[in-house]
């Protein structure tokens, strides 16, 4: 008997009991679809986190000024300005792993166009900042070095601010926006960045060149940076090194002895992203493990039904043996039956997992990411489940004594 004939005999036997075959397969269908949907959801969440951190900026370090302590009350980071403009210059020029460094001063201000006004966060910074945050200009022109140093009164708006001041689809370039009653000319509109994972709208911002911010918004030049320093490392693996080097540089400049606390802090967003990704990986693996248990239970279901089937069809086995079936023909037939059930379940599970995942994603606004390798692994795994759990019943069938099998009532 060739494999194709065996397969045909097995399929015919399964179709003789359609309902039972379907119910047996259901365990595998649920298991495989669960694995696929769970992994897709986990991968989708991971991709979303990656995208969010990418939108914050790549290879990003944020240097925050230190905390104050007055009368036992300790303020949070940034409550005391400890970073100077010289520190910024030193980070930019003296640390080899640093590609860009830019100050980010900020203030909440009321912005007004001809007929609308809107309160938003206004930042003062230099052109490098937009390189660090991978933030191109969508309309108009980007901030130039002469804007930053010359104190030009120009403003760059996020899309949300444009929508609120000028209405959707408007092109505000060249128009005047009053920031704290000081008129600024709109020079550019920034590309949309969307929301952060905690719901903050990245596009609800306005940027003003540093010098103009200091003189017009903040009210005078200061020795200390009353904001943060954004640092872009030369590459992702260099980010951790850059963090160490900037820390060493600042400790040296601020004359902090060994054992003393830093008067600044550095946030490494790559590290944060990796940590979050790792935790998501753990959750994905956990979900997949639970789903794999479902698959295993499905396999046990197949074994159970195959055992029942062998008992029920004892006489059929006897007849087949009497007309010349060898033990290995019987073994192959029942093994192929189990394998067919499991593999069919695997394929149906993929279909259900993909469609179910898509529906779930659309309903709950969860991101989904289908992974081709998981689909292949699920099919292979379910086939393996079929072979492993089919082997025992099939062997039992092949070892039957034809005389007793024929006599079986």
């Amino acid at each position: 008997m060739n494999p194709l004939q065996t397969l045909r005999v097995a399929i015919r036997a399964l179709l003789r009991n359609k309902m039972r075959s379907f119910l047996t397969t259901l365990g595998i269908i649920i298991g495989v679809s669960a694995v696929i949907a769970m992994v897709a959801i986990g991968e989708g969440a991971k991709a979303q986190v990656e995208a969010q951190f990418a939108s914050m900026g790549s290879n990003l370090l944020i240097v925050l000024p230190g905390s104050t302590t007055s009368g036992g009350m300790r303020g949070g980071f940034g409550s005391m300005p400890t970073l100077t403009w010289d520190d910024l210059r030193a980070i930019r020029t003296e640390v080899p792993t640093v590609k860009y460094a830019a100050a980010q001063l900020s203030s909440v201000a009321q912005l007004a166009s001809e007929d609308q006004n809107w309160s938003t966060r206004v930042y003062g910074t230099t052109p490098e900042y937009f390189s660090i945050r991978d933030w191109p200009t969508a309309v108009g022109s980007p901030m130039s070095d002469s804007d930053a140093e010359g104190g030009t009164k120009v403003v760059f708006l996020g899309q949300t601010v444009v929508d609120n001041l000028f209405g959707a689809n408007a092109n505000p370039v060249g128009q005047v926006v009053r920031v704290k009653n000081v008129p600024f000319e709109v020079k550019g509109v920034l590309a949309e960045k969307g929301q952060s994972s905690w719901g903050q709208d990245y596009d609800d911002v306005a940027f003003i060149p540093l010098k103009a911010f200091q003189t017009k918004i903040q009210g005078g030049l200061q020795q200390f940076i009353s904001g943060q320093i954004y640092v872009g490392a030369i590459s992702e693996p260099a980010t951790a090194r850059a963090q160490k080097q900037v820390t060493a540089l600042l400790r040296d400049r601020h004359h902090i002895g060994p054992g003393q606390d830093d008067d600044f802090s550095i946030r490494n967003l790559t590290e944060l992203a990796n940590a979050q990704e790792a935790s998501l990986n753990t959750i994905t693996n956990l979900l997949a493990a639970v789903a794999a248990v479902a698959l295993l239970v499905g396999g046990i279901g197949i074994m159970n039904i195959m055992l029942v089937s062998v008992t029920e069809r004892t006489r059929e086995i006897g007849v087949r043996m009497a007309v010349g079936a060898k033990p290995r023909n019987i073994l192959a037939q029942f093994l192929v039956e189990a394998l067919t059930l499991a593999t069919a379940g695997g394929f149906l599970g993929i279909v259900l997992g993909l469609t179910g995942g898509r529906v779930l994603a659309a309903r709950l606004h969860w991101p989904m990411l289908m992974r081709a390798d998981i689909i292949v692994i699920s099919v292979v795994f379910s086939a393996l489940v079929g072979v492993i759990f089919g082997l025992y019943p099939a062997r039992k069938a092949s070892l039957l004594d034809p005389i007793e099998a024929l006599r079986f009532e």
């Binding site: 007849v319 087949r320 007309v323 010349g324 033990p327 023909n329 005389i403």
Partner: protein, 248 residues
């Protein structure tokens, strides 16, 4: 001068079953020769050893001691795979309760031995159709067992037994589940098969059925009690069996 060797030859065959601590002697030294083209009825009360003898002749079981030569070949020492091959190529079985696969058409049932012989689909189909026509069921090849009468089901079983061109057909109480008229019709088919040269061995406890055989072997207590030849009664074919064996 050459003598034809017997098709089946049992020499001092014994069979002992171990039932817990007790040894059951089902056969206590049976010697029997059956020539090609004979029709033999094996009779005996239950417990006489006739079923055990049948199982050994049918290569479903092996003798404990003694020799069994099937078509000149010693088969008493063969393993399960080799015995399966003998059953497939040389023997055909007919059972009391037909033993057809349910929810399976007549032709698929008849094809079964050819499936294990490794025949191709088209050849299987053609030979099964011919076998079914030979037993008068050429017009019912796609019927399922539950759509057929007992006599028809037994004829499907006979077609299955003869589809692989066996040398011997073994029938275990083939008329046991049939009424007497249908039983005679089935016996007519066996007689026609014998006429075409197939050796027929049937086990029965009904003397009425044994009369259609040319030789009657009576078993008692695991031994052959008597072995007589007789002029067989001719069985009347059923009117619908005009096609069988090409007879009118």
């Amino acid at each position: 001068m050459s003598t034809t060797p017997p098709l089946l030859a049992l020499e001092e065959v014994t069979k002992v079953y171990h039932m817990g601590d007790v040894d059951v002697h089902a056969l206590r030294g049976v010697s029997l020769e059956i020539m090609e083209g004979e029709s033999v009825a094996i009779m005996g009360a239950s417990g006489s050893g006739k079923s055990t003898l049948m199982n050994i002749i049918g290569c479903l079981d092996r003798p404990t001691t003694g020799r069994y030569l099937l078509a000149g070949e010693e088969v008493s020492m063969l393993d399960r795979n080799e015995l399966a091959e003998k059953r497939n190529r040389t023997l055909g079985f007919v059972f009391q309760n037909f033993n057809l696969l349910s929810r399976t058409s007549a032709i698929e049932n008849v094809e079964l031995p050819l499936l294990y012989a490794g025949a191709h689909t088209r050849e299987r189909h053609e030979r099964a159709r011919v076998a079914l026509t030979r037993v008068g069921l050429g017009d019912r090849i796609h019927h399922h067992p539950n759509q057929m009468s007992g006599g028809q089901q037994q004829r499907v079983a006979i077609a299955r037994a003869l589809v692989a061109n066996p040398k011997v057909i073994l029938a275990d109480e083939p008329t046991g589940n049939l009424d007497s008229v249908t039983g005679v019709e089935v016996m007519a088919i066996f007689q026609q098969l014998r006429d075409s040269g197939i050796t027929v061995v049937l086990v029965t406890h009904e003397p009425d059925i044994a009369r259609y055989a040319a030789r009657v072997v009576v078993m008692k207590d695991g031994k052959v009690q008597s072995d007589k030849r007789q002029e067989p009664l001719r069985a009347e074919a059923a009117p619908s069996d005009a096609a069988v064996g090409g007879e009118a």
